[in-house]
Symmetry: C2
Subunit: 280 residues, 2 copies
């Protein structure tokens, strides 16, 4: 999906919800565990139930890699399933990659130019520590985005991201300023944690038009209305992710219905916020 | 392998060579491509040929992920093969991971506590951008190491790693100082690129005893003797990686022999440097 298509979907669904597929064998309902591929069955049910309320899905690769080859197969099936849907859905590989140029090229091909096109993602998260040549290889693919970590939602964000450098900027601000020159608002997004919602004001001074992927609402405690208040643009410019609060809303037979209710609740709040703060 | 075992192997082989398995279908010999699993066959031949001269192997995960499930299967077979060898060999997953705590735990389990123990790695590279809670989950596994990016070998290292923060340190120096308090010399190493060998002096002021994984010798142009001069400790304290210069020394039938010659040449130089700068 390109930027125009993404904004159209946000407008149509009145939602900027991204559902995080942090699928964990220990947390999925017992009755699914006897199926041939419990991880995929769980994901499929969650996707089917939440699709009216979500514009994006974000598999967290660690959860699949932890299961070895079978986990990667469940993930492939999930991505193929999303790509087979009639409506356009934005798929984010939450992989936090980033390496020297020739290696980042490999990762870019793995996620955006897969041997089987049906397994392509729309976006990939990357860490900025290794600089320009680690990130540029992810730019320039058709309808593909790089999502650069700027200010993360965890406690460790305070270890290095908030340090003030010579220019007077904090590290995350310099990351935003410098890396926004490498690409454009058509191929670059940023991760900014909802747990630091007021800092979205500082972020928007540097990247007023970029889409932001905002984790940390839900289980991590961030506030959706604050995120919208401080971070929303005329064209929305936000994808807010919720994982555990939606996908593990219930561990029983009704897990998918409960996930749908959680997603719908978020979508209804989002609908109001879009009306209040954007021009969509 | 724990620290004592690793040092013993360095002493026995008179080598601190790590061979990077950046295996690329486009660069392996033509005649291998008709075999059932060309990537694994290539890796196995390289390992068998270079094992007398190397103490560590470092598969670069991007190269395997780029091939999808079949690439991950080739990688699994490679790791199982190394783990099946009679002698102890240090296996590094060059994956540059790092995420919020509950996700890093997944990655740690994927690499260090695999469902099949024969697929475990000894070490994993991680990016420090997300701070303490993204790195600590990798510590505390038996005989497993976290290798934190400090000063990388690429041009992009100058984008953020060299910035001076409030404390007067450069970002990579603060990363070294702070993160060295999270673990110990028994479970933490650092990536410091050979392309900036003189800066190993600055690195050693902060982490005098930690092992350093040094990429950038060979195709990237770093000097082995300078790395040893500025970075070696009494117990060696170095693993120097070479990938392309060894594994692609020839594209013909003799690729493994040529790789062995390249590895042996490095080992012979390393033997002299160990004598000159360490107490092994």
């Amino acid at each position: 999906m390109n930027r125009t298509e993404l904004i159209a979907e946000i407008k149509r669904k009145k939602s900027f919800l991204c559902v995080g597929l942090d699928t964990d064998m220990a947390k999925i309902p017992e009755f699914l565990k006897s199926s041939e591929d419990p991880i995929f069955e769980f994901n499929k049910a969650i996707i089917d139930a939440t699709l009216p309320y979500a514009v994006a899905y974000k598999p967290n690769l660690a959860f699949y890699e932890a299961l070895g080859i079978s986990g990667m197969e469940s993930l492939s099936k999930t991505v193929r399933y999303i790509n087979s849907l009639r409506e356009k859905v934005f798929i984010i590989a939450d992989a936090k990659r980033g390496d020297i140029g020739n290696t980042s090229e490999r990762y870019a091909n793995a996620f955006f130019n897969n041997v089987d096109k049906k397994e392509n993602y729309n976006a990939l998260t990357v860490a900025p520590y290794m600089g320009e040549d680690s990130i540029k290889p992810f730019m320039g693919f058709d309808r593909a985005w790089v999502i650069i970590l700027a200010l993360t939602s965890n406690k460790g964000a305070f270890d290095f991201q908030m340090d003030v450098v010579e220019s007077g900027e904090r590290v995350f601000e310099k990351v935003l300023r410098i890396s926004s020159q490498w690409g454009s608002i058509e191929n670059t997004m940023y991760v900014v944690g909802a747990t630091k919602a007021d800092m979205l004001l500082d972020v928007r001074k540097i990247v007023p038009h970029h889409f932001l992927l905002v984790p940390g609402v839900g289980a991590q405690g961030g506030s959706l209305s604050e995120v919208a208040k401080f971070g929303m643009t005329d064209e929305c410019g936000l994808l807010v992710n919720a994982s555990r609060s939606i996908i593990y809303a219930s561990k029983e037979k009704d897990f998918a219905q409960k996930a749908a209710i959680e997603a719908k609740n978020m979508q209804m709040e989002m609908s109001k916020l879009i009306k209040l703060y954007s021009k969509l």
